[in-house]
Point group: C2
Chain length 753, copies 2
Amino acid sequence: MTDKLSVVGKSVTRFDAVDKVTGKAKYGIDLKVEGMLYGKILRSPYPHARVIKIDTRRAENHPRVRAVTTINDVPKITGAIGHLMTQEGRDHLYLHDNIVRFIGDPIAAVAADDLEAAQDALSLIHVEYEELPAVFDPVEAMKDGAPVIHTEDNNIAFHVLKEIGELDQGLEETDHVFEERYYTSKQKHATMEPTSSCVADYSQNGRLSVYSSTQRPHVSKLYLAKAFDLPVSKVRIIKPYTGGAFGGRDYLIHGLEIMCTSLSMKSGSPVKISFTREEDFIATEARHPFIIDLRFGVTDDGILKAMEMKCVMDVGGYGAHAAGVMTNALTKGVLIYKCPNITFEGHSVYTNKALCGAYRGYGNPQINFAIESLMDQIAEKLGIDAVELRLKNYRGLNELDPLSGQRIESDGMTECIEKAAEKFDWIGREKRKVANGTKRTGTGMCCLIHHSGGRFAIPDPAAATVMFNSDGSVNLVTAAADEGQGNRTVLAQIAAETLGLDYEQVSISSEPDTDMTPFDSGTHGSRQTYAGGIAVKRAAEKAKDKLLDLAAQHLEARKDDLRIGDGFIFHVDNPSINILVSDLLTALQFEDLSKGIQVMGTSTGVAPAVPTIYGANFAEVEVDMATGEVRILKFVCAFDVGKAINPAHVEGQIIGGEVTGMGYALTEGLITKDGKIMNPNFGDYRMLRACDVPKIDAIIVESPEPSGPFGAKGVGEATNAGTAAVIANAIYDAVGVRIEDLPLSQEKILHSL
Amino acid sequence: MTDKLSVVGKSVTRFDAVDKVTGKAKYGIDLKVEGMLYGKILRSPYPHARVIKIDTRRAENHPRVRAVTTINDVPKITGAIGHLMTQEGRDHLYLHDNIVRFIGDPIAAVAADDLEAAQDALSLIHVEYEELPAVFDPVEAMKDGAPVIHTEDNNIAFHVLKEIGELDQGLEETDHVFEERYYTSKQKHATMEPTSSCVADYSQNGRLSVYSSTQRPHVSKLYLAKAFDLPVSKVRIIKPYTGGAFGGRDYLIHGLEIMCTSLSMKSGSPVKISFTREEDFIATEARHPFIIDLRFGVTDDGILKAMEMKCVMDVGGYGAHAAGVMTNALTKGVLIYKCPNITFEGHSVYTNKALCGAYRGYGNPQINFAIESLMDQIAEKLGIDAVELRLKNYRGLNELDPLSGQRIESDGMTECIEKAAEKFDWIGREKRKVANGTKRTGTGMCCLIHHSGGRFAIPDPAAATVMFNSDGSVNLVTAAADEGQGNRTVLAQIAAETLGLDYEQVSISSEPDTDMTPFDSGTHGSRQTYAGGIAVKRAAEKAKDKLLDLAAQHLEARKDDLRIGDGFIFHVDNPSINILVSDLLTALQFEDLSKGIQVMGTSTGVAPAVPTIYGANFAEVEVDMATGEVRILKFVCAFDVGKAINPAHVEGQIIGGEVTGMGYALTEGLITKDGKIMNPNFGDYRMLRACDVPKIDAIIVESPEPSGPFGAKGVGEATNAGTAAVIANAIYDAVGVRIEDLPLSQEKILHSL
């Protein structure tokens, strides 16, 4: 093997592409298991109530109903994997009570022979409620005397205060103080395939199999084992093809798998529950809305001396990700600029509103919108070029991360900014400015960071097994979940490159199955290419090392003298001493009857670091002052991914992420009135359509991460973190109006004008 | 862990028992894959012909037909895994030609939307044949001038001559020479679930998935990869529940998976083919009929001095197992008695008859019937008790196996014979003799050996992976195929015992999947408890060793001082130094964020030996001299299994095996006329019914095998090896008629009387 890369860096076709375009690939929503029943969930019409009585007798007597379950039978899961760390934490995850906390909170579920009967039977369940006072505004919810949603004390699901340096002193020593408040919206994943579909199949032999589109099969397995008091080994998660996740399928869906399992246990049959699109909108997680107060102190020449960030995050009725998302907002807020004095305070607050949870970016799009809006103001005020201001302040190579203490080992920020600025013609932006009737154009930029994995904050194991076949081809075994982004293809490329094989020689199955794959913490935090890739590379290196050991014995050579290339293992100084890899493997496995060895390698563990991904966005917009309408004319972005294992995949990630970022910026957001979501459908919840989206110039920057597989970091969640800010900045540049409340809707712009 | 066994030796309920009795378990024949087509096979009406032309146009134009394939598109597989050893051997496995060699040989196959259309379309295929001269008798087939079925030279598929000592000298030095000829029948597996059902699903992305009830998933994977020129990694075999195999599902079924795959490739859809019961009888493998000539030389006191065995084996139209079965007959024939001068010669001969292949016992029931019939004659002639004669001659502890050179390390023969004789009341047998009207009773005995695995003769790798979950439960990963005998339950017991866990804490999935399991050569040769068990034990020991390493670090203790018990790891001298296994695992996997380690162990390799299984059968029969009817009054058998991991499973194996042995002895056998099977159904092919079978007293003898897991050997194939002989001997004792031609039918007995 030479240092020249032959598989990594190539845009190979993903292994499942043909199956996807021909319709052969079966998604969660397509699942059919023989003898399967259909389940439906009865949901609370009240934002806050005590369930006094659930009378299921009439539903149970329905001739086509096979089982009914209720919240009295099953727990609710209230937290995420961070809490798995201690036994006590694990116990607190599982809430057994009779309170409903948002409109749509599951109360009961029915399994019937067909969907119609299940739907009918829901109306036969009589529920007696005691309405409780509700609170919808997180600021109100924090006040004394507010209705308490979870504990006796207050509605604070999570609080964090991080102080670096001396904020007050920093503010005093500075020349200018900038202070603003920002609001962000409640964006919904609205994946192509509705988020919530599963089949639970409990067998009386004590084993539970669940087909679930979870991003984290092994984590879902842990949760279900605990919820139903089963040995972890008796729970099996099989993941079908998945039509987009973006955080929306992080471990379990509220009420879905647990109610479905309970129905399967009671009926003795497999049960499928698929949420309707409306249920998907009202009863699954969305991006947390934030209220962010910033106060930044800057010197005359634009050096940040003090940053105060106060965040209030509305977590809705249950606190899944209450800690995680706030912590990630903290991390991104603290780490983007190397300011010496930073205070970050966050409150995650329960309200009687629909669920919030993990959504691509995970707190970063919120904090980035605020910071990068404010940085734009600062640049303007101080008369410093926006690009220049970022380059002066960002935290780059060899800086210490004050949160984890790790040193930054790769830094592509300058290259991202410079390459994107050049492509965008940032210098020529003023010349391009157009005022045409009521239309004005403007430009803006922003930068951003993200990270790969959560290895310093949460349990984040990755694992892989590499198995050589006798013909030299390889099966790669990993539980890494692919939501459509192609990460299993990328992992196969990493295995092929490490082993000196063609991509076609490595096979990876489409569906992770927890019965047969070692523990992987799943697909979250832009970690699979990096942390998953490290596990695959280590496993492949172990297999390769073993192969060379055996080759050395076979060829009677020193292992260090052997190389692999073109299907051969050969002596570096005397290539006539060689053997075909497949011949060696065949000899070991089949010809030498005393061996029967399969050459394999397995790796489990964590990645050594949490590398920083850098990115920069540049946008040019046209605003119609008569209507408030915004059109994005030009969009250039660059991301430092360390090494693009598969450039086409990276580009796909960037474009996909930026498009959801544009929706976040301009149109998206669930509208809630008295706890009720008013736009739970694609008619009223306005996502961008293809015709709304400009050409996106995606630039890949490669600043190799020493700890990454072939230098790779990640990219997924970085790609929508800065979109709202760059568009806000460009709108301001066009019409002088700065909207600090997402989305930057036509109405708000018109109103501000 | 103490030396006391807590899981091994217990008749735990098999993990899939409930699913099987409730009908939840889905078998190959139940398989439904979405979008699946139905395939049917067109078969040759001639025993030997050249296919001149296959006109499939009319079938292709059938509106519901989606694909047609023919023998011009696909190869035939003509050998078994022994031939996988060299590339040259592998190539010879795949026969591409236009000759059909038996009535039922596949010619073409059709895939249609429904079974009816597929069946109809077969009649639309026009085949032009040139009939070739056929030969049905193996002795005729060996003669010069016989029609040649495969090669230019002759019809000898396999020839072996093994000479130990000096036969002629042995015969000269002896006091008595006995010489007889025996014939055995062509027994059919006739499994509860018809043997042949598969779904092939080829994806245009180059991957082939086959749901197959194969006993050897990884071997089937190799064959299919080679047949279709795919990397081995691109072929995936998933094994559903299986309703009995007994050798009939050894790797591929003639024409089934290959035609099915070809149809899937052509149609782009998954295709299912299930043979009818009649197809199962005429076109899948059966037990090879043998003609056996024995010449034994014995001293006055019953010591064997010379054994000549000459076997002619009819392999039918294709030579699958032509070498394997003959070699196994050789092994069992040579190794049962420690005679100094042995000559064994075997000819496996092609005929234009239906297929023969692997069937439980694999050559042993044939040779054992001959040897143990002759031994009975010798005992009578020399006036030596039949039991005594065996005890004088059998090859036991510390004897060297003259074929492999291995030393016999465990020997339960004497105990088998003595315990069974006692239970049977062998001594009192003469007193029990009854002559009642036309009815006469008689008794007989025989002994037998078998072996576990084929590690000295064929590639026989086994592998397993053990993965600890954070709660201390374990997932066991192995490709060991369970045909219903429960070997996956047994492997889970071995893992649990090795790890000091409860059986309930170990989980093993019901369906092996070659994408995610290391190579196991499959379920054959009574090897899974032994060779599979060794792999599981080694993998578990590695995991345990790793766990203790990590515990030693954690407890700051020396690893050697640590023990595992009752869910704890503790210091042997100071038990207050301890940690719950689950706490340690949770710490390693989740709490210590720098680790994220899953404790695992994997083992690949071969078993160190091929241990001998011993057995003895005793039977008492009643023969009606007026009708020739035989009734088995009493049946006692004992088998030395080394250690019964699950005694109920062992008993189940013994009883099941003896019942098929009784059918082999008395009634079973395919009747062929001019190459056509005359009794391809359960009406005409007479299997024993429950009311025909006596109570079977199964005695388990445990002579621990040092190399086996907890001393275990195997048992499966030993259980029907001696049944024909013991019944023949008892019939002779009852009525003085010795039938040397299986089955010992009512007609033959009546005729002889």
